[in-house]
Amino acid sequence: MVAPVSAVEPQGVSLNDTSGISGALSPRNANYSIDVRLDPEARFLEGRQVVQWRNIQQQPTAELRFHVYWNAWRNNESTWMREDRFRGRSDRGEDILEGDWSYVEVETIRLLAAGERPDADLARSLRFVAPDDGNTGDRSVFQVDLPEPVEPGESIEVELSWVAKIPRTFARTGFRGDFFFIAHWFPKLGVFEDGGWTAPQYHSATEYYSDFGVYDVRISVPTGWTLGATGRKVEKTDNNDGSTTHHHIQEDVHGFAWTTSPDYIEFLDRFEAPGLPGVDIRLLMQPEHRKQKDRHLAATRAALELYGSWYGPYPYGHITVIDPAYGSGAGGMEYPTLFTCGTRWINPFGAGSPEGVTIHEAGHQFWYGIVGNDEFNHAWIDEGLNSFSDARVYDEKFGDTMYRKLYFVPPGTEQRGFFPRLFHGFSQSRATYGNGLDRYRPTATSDAPAKPTFRYHPATASGISYSKTALWLHTLERLLGWSKLQPAMAAFFERHKFAHPRPADLESVVSEYAGQDLGWFFDQVVGDSSHFDYAIDSADSFRIEPEGYFEVAGKPSYRAKPETEDSDADEGSMDSEYRSEVVVRRLGTGVFPVDVLMVFEDGAEIRRRWDGADRWKLFVEEKTSKLVSVTVDPERVLLLDLDYTNNSRVLDSKPWKPALKWASRWMLWFQDLMGAFAYYV
């Protein structure tokens, strides 16, 4: 049995009217009061909720749209499952056992009486809609009709009761054994904006979008099990049926996730930094990872400190860090005031994990949690800004990472290797590895970021949303300087915290702080799928022959080649001995201003600026010294350049030397491998 929704409201929080609440950080127009009970044996949830929704738009609406995310995994024909197969995981459906699927069944849905408006049963009008693709097999969004429109500024309360089957983890929510991670689990309103509901179906490559509000949630789980959840715990009550009800409340968030397991061990810590509000950190870990406690805490503190100082303070005063169970698939995900990391039993420091994932998900508290953009349509905003930021934090706190390979992958399984090996000497920098250049490269022309994210090709969406954005932000950092980009991002954060910014908002604030219209840049990196590649096409440096026709006293006059090349008389007649000619090409479709740096034998350097617009440009220098090397974009400002090897040319290069060095090492492995083949005969 699910206990009825409590009539007692938490102190200082009114679920009926949150407009004008003192201390409210957000509009608080979508508030949820939920009671839920976990049946761990049946892997079932039973819930009842009251949604209080206030229309903060200028238009009325006579309908409501709810997400029921877990219905994405109730059959093979949902849009999520179809797209997931498209991502290249076509065998996934065959591996799903009967008890692994999930669903949410809404049993009752009523509009609660308020004032003169009577109570109304909305269940009869409940119907599943598929606004994105018309897929009748998809039940991830439902719509109900209201007896009368909700006018601007008006509030309504809707009560729902539902049951839900918990999936074996899909999209980081579900169970493994007696570990439960419960996210996107209750019927949740879409966002009413621009006269309509933004409530897309659940797609395989996108995430979520909701209004801010107050979440008042009571969760009943077996007594003795540890529970972690969004918000702060206000009460814990042992029931006489072997369960314990945990009461959590959180204001000014747009979601609520929780986890429970009998195995968690808890560590408490406190983040303190000058100029930033303190934050209580609660870390729930798997016992076999206890030795990595300090690494998780250090990474969380690093994110709170640097994101806080760069963009704005973390306002909630508490954060819960979850180290999920092995193989649960719940790792690496963000939820308001709570996030999951992910580590392994053997995980030496240096390869970027768990520090990287911890910083990333903690960073999502800022980009996603506080600045709540529409992830269905513009996932690149939070994922990209956050990827850029987490790489920056990691670099500042931990430096480069090392190449790592996981060994002992059980054949025929989806498991990853158990034994990691770090390769010293194979270091990976923030600029390229941290921002994900290798992930971006194969997806570079796949989709324009401006396209709605849920319409990206599912297999290449992350390369665009995460990596491309991080790369062009870092490019902006190098172009404008951090001293301009950081205040711009801080202003974007400040202006759009607890709101739903759109791409144009980011462009306008960055242009404003850059002091220039960056439309040309955003048009290419957001508005288009332009790819960038500048290259040295040719470079030559040759002695200027003193033979030929030259202007003498206004007339062309023939001068013969002197008998000896190093004739003093000849040298004295010429200003320069060498003419250096360099052709730089733009091989990509994108245009970006670049420097061309020429280095000469005498150590002199000449730097020329090119607007990069034409398809090629010739640079000519005449000097007494020979050209040694030339590089286009020598500081690698343009991190989106897909091929940086072709950006430089060394005139006296010996490519066989590195080839010999590394191929001889490869040969050693090859011989060893051939020996392994010989083993079988």
């Binding site: 493994r176 054994g177 007696d178 397991s261 195995d263 798997q286 092995y326 193989g327 390979k405 060994y407 002992f408 059980p410 054949p411 025929g412 399984t413 498991q415 290797g417 090996r421 390769f423 010293h424 194979f426 270091s427 390229t432 590895y433 250049l437 590089t631 940086y644 090897t645 072709n646 060394v650 005139l651 290069s653 010996k654 490519p655 066989w656 030397k657 590195p658 080839a659 010999l660 060095k661 590394w662 191929a663 001889s664 090492r665 490869w666 040969m667 050693l668 492995w669 090859f670 011989q671 060893d672 491998l673 051939m674 020996g675 392994a676 083949f677 010989a678 083993y679 079988y680 005969v681």
Partner: protein, 317 residues
């Protein structure tokens, strides 16, 4: 002369002594591997040189490794070039090899690698005849002519043995591809990685034990072909199987002993193997020679095991 009831250590010592006493044999076998690998390595070197071109990246690759360049190289890599990964460039990449050897994933490395592997396996069939005939010959004087003649004389019989063993290995790797997904299913609700790892290690133990068994049976079958001048591959396999079945402690024990010696050798090489540092001509040569020395030592153990198995077999006659 072999004493009756030769122990593991004695057989192993006998095998190693025989190998050390045959430096020319060792050199020929090693050289065969080098000669096959050299032109293929040259193809990879050409691909690297072509990718680097006249770029300044060449200088950073000379000084160390350039992961940014490698990202670009890997993106465009085709065929053999795909195997050019950081993990195979230090310490001989033996962990990579080990990982694909036991799991059978070696046959998923790409058609080029597999084709060369099969070619080398044929070469090894030819060589093994020469090796066993040499160790079986009284006085054991090595001559290249007799080595090749013996290899040629025995290669068809050994080829038949290889063809008989192929379905067994295939079945074994099919078993692995059934076993580990099964383990994945039965551990699907285990939340502790160490527990899941233990299940998988048990699976590995089964697969490796079977691999070793098949290998031993066919090794002794080859020995039976050489020592007893057998012509029937099937009867030779049965002879090898009976031999292993009747002397499990000594046959498995010797494999374990040589595996331990191999592991010690790997450990030593891993400790002394050079990193990614600058590449002078002398440095590159030294790294190459050190690697070849390691392979030569590994080869010695391999031949030592064969000679030891031969000693055990003859001891039982």
């Amino acid at each position: 002369m072999y004493s009756r009831k030769l122990g593991i250590a004695e057989a192993a010592r006998s095998g190693l002594t025989a190998t050390i006493a045959a430096p020319r044999l060792l050199a020929v076998v090693w050289l065969a591997g080098v000669l096959l690998a050299l032109p293929i390595a040259a193809m990879v070197a050409t691909a690297v040189a072509s990718s680097v071109g006249k770029s300044a990246v060449g200088q950073s690759l000379e000084q160390g490794f350039d992961m940014d360049w490698h990202g670009e190289f890997a993106h465009q890599a085709r065929g053999l070039e795909k195997s050019f990964t950081p993990s195979v460039l230090v310490g001989g990449g033996w962990l990579d090899t080990l990982d694909v050897w036991w799991s059978g994933e070696i046959f998923s490395l790409g058609p080029e690698i597999v084709a060369f592997g099969i070619l080398f396996a044929f070469l090894w069939i030819l060589i093994t005849g020469g090796i066993l005939a040499h160790f079986n010959r009284p006085g054991r004087r090595f001559s290249l002519g007799s080595f090749l003649a013996d290899g040629g004389r025995l290669c068809l019989r050994f080829l038949r043995l290889a063809l008989l063993s192929a379905p067994l290995y295939y079945g074994l790797f099919r078993l692995a591809r059934w076993l580990f997904p099964w383990i994945e299913r039965i551990t699907v609700d285990k939340t502790v990685e160490r527990t899941v790892l233990a299940y998988n290690l048990a699976g590995v133990a089964v697969i490796v034990a079977l691999l070793i068994t098949v290998k031993m049976v066919f090794d002794y079958a080859k020995i039976a072909v050489v020592v007893e001048e057998r012509r029937s591959a099937i009867l030779a396999v049965l002879r090898g199987f009976r031999f292993v079945l009747r002397r499990p402690l000594r046959t498995y024990g010797m494999v374990v002993l040589f595996s331990v010696l191999g592991a010690v050798l790997l450990l030593i090489y891993t400790l002394v193997a050079p990193g990614t540092g600058p590449a002078s001509f002398a440095g590159v040569t030294l790294v190459f020679l050190l690697g070849q020395l390691f392979l030569l030592a590994r080869l010695s153990l391999r031949l030592g095991l064969l000679a030891g198995e031969l000693a055990l077999f003859r001891d039982a006659l």
